[in-house]
């Protein structure tokens, strides 16, 4: 059976009772689009270096009901990130928002299911306006596939003029202990005017069967709000992840996103920063450390739609073993977006003979009064620096890992949440002690 009819069969089985009318329409529309585009192949420009269609030859288990899950509280406790006792928890299991395992600790925010938010008199309009905004940026079928299967997603609202007292920890858990799993978590986060929140996202696979996660998270940032988002990807080799993060700044605001990719079979991140208001600031930082057969692909888009915005982007990668790194950074400056400052830098270190990297830093500029630059480097470790250390009695292994630490630090120090930073630093240290 070909992929499209495979999904069609499952789409038709989807439950339609208790589904909000607007979401149902969106699903139908998205599925029609998916039918037309299908799964992107390497012929698709945005997927030139990342092959995912092979994974769709397998038979996956689509869970439509949470009751089928065998995932328990004790399973969760083994996966928790440090500081979880002091955080708001959002738990997705196989793509479903697990309300019982999730937990709201802060008074400044509300976490509810996407379906109930869509029917909520206060939130319905927000859902209607912002859910699915990312579709404009991804015409590749994968985004539509997620939308077509929206069931139990999550909606987060951070109240106006409040600073969340606790961060939000979002777990995307795939329980592949009993069969191949295809999970499609969906979230919508709304940071209201003058509010502030920190979010930490992580991806975890348990079990040895195949796991494919196709996640979409959309974040709306209003005027004077501040959003910090940390994505930590330290998963198992059997996991494949396509993660789309869509940050839409609709008022003068600040958004900081730090992505750290450490382990996993295949990681593809789409990060969009859409600046729809003047004086927005966006900071995008990424660190990817590949080894073995890991394939890490980071696609970023910075879309300057209004004047006087500022964006900073720094992505760094170290590739070892047979790993492949891909970086594609796009900066759009619309004609009206004068006085834009947009900077982008991508730096890669190849440590082994079989590692490779494909980079494509891209600028598309339609306004003249702008300052935009990008830089990209690929190389190996600085021999002079190594020699300097070795001549001072530091053995090669230590010298190498020292240099790599310094390289990674630029990104790690951008994580403002201390618990998380210490945790990630520990993971990185472990990984770089070659």
């Amino acid at each position: 059976m070909d992929t499209i009819s495979y999904f069609k069969e499952r789409f038709e089985k989807l439950q339609t009772n208790n589904v909000d009318a607007h979401i149902k329409d969106m699903r139908d529309e998205a599925f029609t689009e998916f039918e037309q585009t299908g799964i992107p192949t390497v012929k698709h420009e945005e997927w030139k270096y990342t092959r995912i269609n092979d994974f769709f030859n397998k038979d996956y288990h689509f869970t439509t009901d949470l009751k089928e899950q065998s995932f328990t509280v004790s399973d969760l406790s083994t996966l928790q990130l440090p500081g979880h006792e002091d955080a708001n928890l959002i738990v997705f299991v196989n793509g479903h928002f697990h309300e019982e395992l999730s937990h709201t600790r802060s008074d400044e925010l509300e976490i509810l299911s996407l379906q109930s938010a869509a029917g909520h008199d206060k939130y319905a309009s927000i859902v209607k306006e912002h859910l699915g905004h990312s579709a404009d940026y991804h015409k590749d079928g994968i985004n539509a596939l997620n939308t077509a299967f929206i069931q139990e997603g999550v909606f987060v609202h951070v109240f106006k003029s409040r600073t969340a007292s606790h961060p939000i920890y979002l777990y995307n858990i795939t329980d592949a202990r009993n069969g191949n799993i295809f999970a499609q978590p969906r979230s919508l986060v709304h940071v209201a005017q003058n509010a502030q929140v920190q979010m930490v996202e992580t991806f975890v696979t348990i079990g040895a069967d195949e796991s494919f996660t196709n996640q979409v998270i959309e974040l709306v940032v209003e005027k004077d709000a501040i959003l910090d988002l940390y994505k930590i990807q330290n998963d198992e080799a059997n996991s494949k992840v396509v993660s789309t993060t869509h940050v839409h700044q609709i008022g003068k605001s600040v958004a900081n996103v730090v992505t750290v990719c450490l382990n996993g079979g295949l990681i593809r991140n789409n990060l969009n920063m859409v600046m729809s208001a003047e004086y927005c600031e966006a900071n995008l930082f990424g660190l990817y450390l590949g080894d073995n057969q890991t394939h890490i692909d980071n696609h970023t888009v910075v879309d300057n739609r209004q004047p006087n915005c500022l964006s900073n982007e720094l992505y760094k990668g170290v590739l070892n073993g047979n790993s492949t790194g891909v970086f594609n950074g796009k900066i759009f400056v619309r004609q009206i977006a004068q006085k834009t400052n947009a900077y982008q830098s991508n730096r890669n270190i190849l440590l082994s003979e079989n590692a490779s990297v494909n980079a494509k830093p891209q600028l598309e500029i339609f306004a003249d009064d702008v300052k935009c630059s990008h830089g990209c480097t690929v190389g190996s470790l600085d021999e002079d620096a190594l020699f300097y250390m070795r001549s001072r009695g530091i053995e090669e292994k230590t010298a190498t890992s020292l240099l790599l630490h310094g390289f990674a630090l630029d990104v790690l120090e951008k994580i403002k949440h201390e618990n998380v930073r210490t945790f990630v630093e520990g993971l990185v240290t472990k990984k770089l002690d070659l």
Partner: protein
């Protein structure tokens, strides 16, 4: 020095009058005239018969016809590519005349017998075919519409064993070389336009530098589209044997016409051990009028291969013309220690669109490449840099440096950068940097303060911006290119 170049130099060498932009504010595309010469054309459209017709016209051997037919069969199977960052109405390939030649006597014995009208045309263009009067020492092969009409300095060159002649002549007289090298760098199946070119190319230049010879003069081809509704499909092949050097220039112009004309050329360069080839282009096809009407579609495949060790290929281009440019001069660095260079200035104004750049494919060990690309956009134009740097698995110690800067004049134009970097070897070092900006107000102010008016200041800054590339051009071209830059941007600043 020919008269045109002399004319150009005058206003620019005297410092006080240095004002290239203002002096050309009202000048139109000066090469837009049409020469009234009788020409012989094939009927419109493309079919197997037309391919056979062209081949028969050129009295080509059987193998050449087969080669063309194979290319035509391939072309039919291919689809026109759409990935470039340009937009234009679909081209009707059946509405193009694929062969047009100035009518002339069966066989020319010397330049004296060339139609005087033709000679006049080239004199108007500043290309004198009359060797006696020339002082600059540049050997020229002039190609009008589809056919080479004369090559100068042939004798002197042949004394050293250098072959410099039209492609059709080469097919007749040096079939073994053509069979060996034609299509070896740009295969028939390479892309849509190269397949089209392979099927219908009517002429072009062939240049062969035998072992150990350093070509004593610049070689040059001058392309001119004259007839209406024609496409120009020329094919250039340069082969540099071991231990040789050659510098090659290419220039192009076309009359002003309302409809778009197609130009799909292929240039191939082969550099063997220790050979060095320098290829410079000043592309000044008719860019269309201020409303974007007319102009040439310039879809060109240029590629060189550094086959031997220590070989070097250098592309330098100044792109000011054409309504749409689509061109990526590339170098395959196959030989160890080989070196590839790409220097480009692309200027777009009004409704011009340019999607240009380079490919550097590192295959051999210790290979180096350098890319310097400067894009200047004005009016409603769009200017894209698209480049690929690939370091293969066995290309140890490969080194690349790329720099692409864009300058935006006006808020209706666009500048885009699409660099692809693919590295599969951990000893390679690849660097890429790009900036986009406009001319700074502080820079203008600095000049104003010192008594330089704004327009001159702008010209000064643009010249400085492009200097790194201009310096790479041979003397004869550098002057012309600088002036072209000014003309292309006329009225777009200040």
């Amino acid at each position: 020095m020919n008269t045109d170049v002399e004319q150009l130099i005058k206003p620019e060498t005297s410092e006080t009058d240095f004002d290239p932009i203002e002096s050309h504010v009202n000048s139109e595309y000066k090469y837009g005239f049409v020469t009234e010469i009788e020409s012989e054309s094939a009927p419109k459209g493309l079919s197997e018969e037309i391919v056979r017709f062209i081949s028969a016209k050129k009295n080509e051997p059987e193998w050449m016809l087969e080669w063309r037919l194979k290319a035509y069969a391939q072309w039919l199977k291919m689809k026109e590519p759409t990935w470039a960052n340009v937009t234009f109405p679909p081209i009707n390939y059946q509405d193009v005349i694929y062969y047009s030649a100035p009518k002339q006597k069966a066989k020319l014995n010397g330049l004296d017998e060339v139609d005087p009208e033709l000679i006049k045309t080239f004199e108007k263009l500043g290309i004198s075919l009359d060797e006696q009067k020339r002082l600059t020492g540049v050997a020229v092969d002039a190609v009008i519409d589809s056919v080479s009409i004369g090559t100068s300095f042939k004798k002197q060159l042949s004394e050293q064993g250098i072959i410099f002649c039209s492609m059709s002549e080469a097919i007749q007289e040096h079939p073994e070389l053509i069979r060996q090298y034609l299509g070896s760098v740009v295969p028939v199946t390479d892309n849509y336009f190269s397949a089209l070119n392979s099927a219908v190319f009517s002429d072009g230049s062939f240049c062969f530098i035998p072992k150990g010879v350093r070509c004593p003069m610049e070689l040059s081809t001058y392309f001119r589209i004259n007839a209406e509704n024609t496409g120009q499909f020329e094919r250039t092949l340069i082969v540099a044997e071991d231990d040789t050097y050659v510098s090659y220039l290419e220039g192009c112009t076309a009359p002003m016409r309302d409809e778009n004309q197609l130009h799909a050329a292929v240039v191939e360069i082969v550099a063997l051990n220790n050979a060095e080839v320098k290829y410079s282009t000043v592309q000044n096809w008719y860019p269309g009028d201020k409303e974007g009407k007319g102009g040439i579609y310039n879809f060109v495949t240029k590629r060189g291969i550094c086959k031997g060790v220590n070989s070097k290929i250098s592309w330098t281009q100044v792109e000011t013309g054409s309504s749409i440019t689509w061109k990526y001069p590339s170098v395959i660095l196959q030989g160890d220690n080989s070196n590839g260079e790409f220097y480009s200035v692309a200027v777009t104004n009004n409704y011009q669109q340019a999607d240009t750049g380079t490919k550097m494919i590192h295959l051999g060990k210790n290979t180096r490449s350098r890319i310097v690309s400067k894009g200047i956009s004005a009016g409603y134009s769009n200017n894209s840099y698209r480049g690929l740097v690939r370091v293969g698995k066995n290309a140890s110690n490969a080194r690349n440096f790329s720099q692409c800067d864009s300058l935006l004049l006006g808020d209706k134009c666009g500048a885009h950068t699409f660099p692809y970097i693919e590295v599969k070897n951990n000893t390679g070092v690849v660097e890429h940097e790009a900036t986009t900006s406009k001319i700074g107000e502080d820079q203008i102010f600095y000049c104003n303060q010192r008594g330089i008016d704004t327009e001159t200041a702008v010209a000064l800054i643009i010249n400085g911006f492009a200097k790194e590339v201009m310096n790479q051009l041979p003397m004869e071209f550098a002057v012309e290119a600088q002036k072209l830059l000014a003309i292309s941007l006329e009225g777009s600043v200040g």
